[in-house]
Symmetry: C2
Subunit: 180 residues, 2 copies
DNA sequence: GATATACGGTTGCGCGTTCAACCATACCGT
DNA sequence: ACGGTATGGTTGAACGCGCAACCGTATATC
């Protein structure tokens, strides 16, 4: 008994729209609370755990945006003083981006609004088991499309309340995944 | 034993990225095969089963785009001769959009590429049971966010093999969701 | 060492979307 | 009837993103 095209298309429409609804909620919450866009917040999130900075191309891979896209996102963050560009002398063709103290502070503030809104628009409606199942299915989707990267799919947020502290993955060794 | 924030955020990142990957694949396939954007295809899809036309505002609700957004999407479709605007004499403030023969033809062609790509990038990687589970979870998400509308979540594609013609909805729902 | 190639990043441009303002039409209370 | 309000649609400006072209730097080949 195979699923009909209607069922498959329906499932995809659900995916499309659920993502849209949650994403809009997050965008709006972030913009309202700190003026950050979701992409900017994501960059700050990545940089806040990458002590030695990240290359532009790695950020692009992490966020699934183009090279020019990440250039502009970082442009805006640099302009607001939340991120710093840095060209390492030993390899002068890359640009390392590092979070500034002001950036870390902004991220901490934004993280509050982010987690709260994620709870309201996402996790609140799913049981813990649901979340794991959803994660598993979507991960299979990513793997099937060759879009699976371990480090990309775990945004390292610092836990706020004394919840189980994450095992601080520090091997941010970028795999240079530009499939351009 | 509650799921950690990391797990929730991770699940959301999966949602975000899986959607992005599938959407990109569909966009690209449609553009390559027929020059249509995903939004334009979606409009054609809706119109192809709405015999008596759809109002702009209804289309906007169906696609989850803004009023101005749907104006421009329809503009492009009208300009390529795939869709017709029509102002009913009995209510001259609405605009009914109807698919033209050329539009129906274009949709038929596009549908092939669409279904094939959806299979390749989506359903291919999930079992039938998976698809149903996924659908159920995402639907719960939509319901939880008050974004559930029966008719929106079933894109009526014509099955190649036997189908059931969907009932056609005539008058507008007052609850259109451009909560602007 | 000189030339070719690959890699990383930025820039110009076009496209598509939203927001806010606006216009037109229908609906409602009096 | 008549003003006020709500509804449906379009328009202009701004924004964010991707594509392609470009430049600078590192690496490979000879």
């Amino acid at each position: 008994m195979a699923s009909t095209n209607q069922e498959r298309v329906g499932a995809w429409v659900h995916l499309l729209q659920a993502n849209q609804v949650v994403e809009n909620a997050l965008q709006q919450a972030l913009k309202a609370s700190t003026g950050l866009s979701l992409a900017e917040f994501e960059v700050l999130s990545r940089l806040s755990v990458a002590g030695s900075g990240l290359r532009m191309v790695d950020l692009a891979g992490l966020l699934l945006v183009s090279k020019s896209g990440i250039t502009r996102i970082v442009d805006r963050l640099v302009h607001s003083g939340l991120v710093r560009r840095e060209v390492p002398p030993e390899n002068r063709r890359v640009v390392l981006t590092r979070i500034t103290p002001a950036g870390a502070e902004a991220f901490d503030r934004a993280q509050g609004a982010f987690l709260e809104t994620l709870e309201q628009s996402f996790s609140r409606h799913l049981s813990d088991a649901d979340i794991r199942v959803l994660r598993r299915l979507l991960r299979r989707l990513l793997e099937g499309n060759g879009a699976w990267e371990e480090e990309r799919c775990s945004m390292h947020l610092r836990e706020r309340s004394g919840e189980s502290a994450p095992p601080e993955r520090r091997t941010a060794r970028p795999g240079s995944r530009s499939s351009s």
